[in-house]
């Protein structure tokens, strides 16, 4: 029988013999009343990209929520496995497209572990500087988006983007691109920072607390935000740990875990900074984590800009082309603005990785979305999703 004339029974018989056609069962509650099933997304403005949620509602309340993703799947891991080690760096920019610098860093760290390449002192400091600038701009943008999800019609978002713009300008004059920086290399960074660039960065870091104060007087104590965020989407520390949640979301639940502290990768053990912790694990705590982390990032930046040494920016042993690490495996992880970003590489001694795997924080933080949303209304689902801080480029890869 040709495919054109095959009907549903025949197609099912071919796919799963003997199973028969399964009619979709409409969701019902305990009393047998039919519930409303809503497909939110993939083009809903609150989903931060192409992400879909199948929400089952009883009245206003969410009784089931199924996240559906994969709309932005780009085969990143297999592309990287079929290309040289160098060629994967520009692709990592496109994972979490708000924070390309930290993505580069995570991958460079994994390759450096795999191939045994060192990083000069100055390059480590430059990495910390651009990494923390990335954290500032990501958190500023995230708060803006979260406020827009709450219905604050764009004012906080515009203020946040105004600041983010300045950081992107710095990235552009350093690396040549605003978002797809492609800046780090195994064994260092690509171009050195000029004295002028460092001066501009110092100016920006000196100015940034003023923006944070302004942001605070704009949002802090706002009764609408408190009403929308406090007690909404509570995540217990036990559930957060067992689900593998990381980053500001985990710390909002009160778990003291920051890869910068526990791993001390790069030169993070030289800076004094605190890890802010939340109490309740609700949306408000998650929002506050970002505000407090920006303050800590400013502290780290001040120290790094003060202490940055002179010297080379590339390890002399590092090679751009034809990198062939010995057979083995390595896992490089960093504290990206969204959580623990890890790259797992297996080398079989050839010029491209045998296995390349990304542990993306957005995807893993998203797995507990249903647990946070049960019993809340659809309007709360939007806010809870906003507080998770996802970027679909990283969720789907």
């Amino acid at each position: 029988m040709s495919p054109e004339t095959a009907n549903l029974e025949e197609i099912t018989e071919r796919a799963a013999p003997g199973r028969g056609v399964v009619e979709p069962v409409p969701p019902v509650n305990a009393e047998g009343e039919q519930l409303l099933e809503v497909s939110m997304g993939p083009h809903h403005p609150s989903t931060h990209g192409v992400f879909r949620m199948n929400v089952v509602l009883e009245g206003e309340q969410v009784v089931r929520l199924k996240p559906v993703f994969g709309y932005l799947h780009r085969n990143h891991e297999k592309i990287a496995e079929n290309a040289a080690y160098l060629a994967a760096i520009p692709y990592t920019d496109r994972l979490d497209y708000l924070c390309s610098m930290t993505n580069n860093w995570g991958y460079a760290l994994a390759v450096e572990k795999l191939a045994g390449i060192g990083v000069p002192e100055r390059a480590e400091y430059i990495r910390v500087i651009v990494g923390e600038l990335t954290r500032l701009q990501n958190h500023a943008a995230l708060i803006g988006f979260l406020m827009q999800d709450m219905g604050m019609s764009g004012t906080p978002l515009m203020y946040a983007f105004r600041e983010r713009e300045k950081i992107l300008d710095l990235f552009e004059s350093l690396s040549g691109a605003r978002m797809m920086c492609n800046y780090m290399r195994f064994g260092g960074v690509r171009v050195d920072t000029s004295a002028e660039w460092l001066r501009q960065t110092r100016d920006l870091v000196g100015e940034f607390p003023r923006f944070l104060d302004e942001f605070e007087s704009l949002l802090m104590g706002n009764e609408i935000i408190m009403g929308r965020a406090q007690g909404v989407g509570v995540l217990s520390p036990e559930l957060a740990v067992s689900a593998g949640v990381s980053g500001p979301m985990l710390r909002a639940s009160g778990v003291n875990y920051d890869v910068r502290k526990v791993d001390g990768y790069g030169v993070y053990d030289r800076f004094s900074f605190r890890v802010p912790l939340g109490d309740h694990g609700d949306v408000y705590d998650r929002y506050m984590m970002r505000v407090l982390e920006m303050r800590e990032s400013v502290k780290i930046l001040e120290q790094a800009l003060r202490d940055i040494p002179a010297g080379p920016i590339m390890d002399p042993k590092a090679r751009l082309r034809g990198l062939r690490p010995k057979a083995g495996e390595a896992y490089g992880r960093i504290e990206s603005p969204k959580g623990e970003l890890g790259f797992y590489l297996i080398s079989d001694g050839t010029g491209n990785p045998y296995r390349y795997r990304v542990r993306s924080p957005s995807l893993i933080n998203l797995t507990i979305l249903e647990d946070m949303c049960l019993g809340r209304s659809v309007a709360d689902v939007v806010v809870i999703l906003g507080s998770v801080d996802i970027v679909l480029g990283e969720v789907d890869r």
Binding site: A87, L218, N222, L320
Partner: protein, 200 residues
Amino acid sequence: MLGIGIMKGLVETARNFFGSYTSKQRLTTVQFPDERLLQPEATRVFPFLVYDTDDWEKGLRCVACKICEVECPPRCISITKSADKKPDYSGIYSGKPQFYPEKFDIDVSVCMSCQICVEVCPFEAIKMDNAFELSTDDRFGGLLWQKERLAKPNSYYQAIHPTDAAESDAALAEKKAKAEAKPAAAAKPAPEKAGAATER
């Protein structure tokens, strides 16, 4: 009292609104395209091929070694190597005849502006352009750039990236001086060609 937080926020927006009339810090937008911000020197968009002298066909630095074709992450470069060699017109290969690209195509609809071709090129032949208003109504031919369109003089490169161009010119001059000193001392073939052959 309920509403104090909201009032505080409104004061902040009012300060930003009225401040935008007096402070440049609060009014950050420009009226594009009438007003334009200066691009930073490092800005990169799509690659171009550098040529010396005033004849783009003869002076093209590219020797069709295909390194960029292999290393390009999205594989958007396509090169056909010539059968014959052309004379060293621009004088950067110490007078030795070189292969040249018979075809050098870049599909800019695939290119992701990562600059890896520039980094791996040992001949300073491919560089990044900063022209960005490149829309076309021909989505096939208009986005596949042949070497005629890609070729730009070295003076253009010096104009858009002065610092990088100075470095690149210095590197070429050093290479040339080395190549000229070598055969004079030991009468051996120039080392850069041997290097290019092994790297291929």
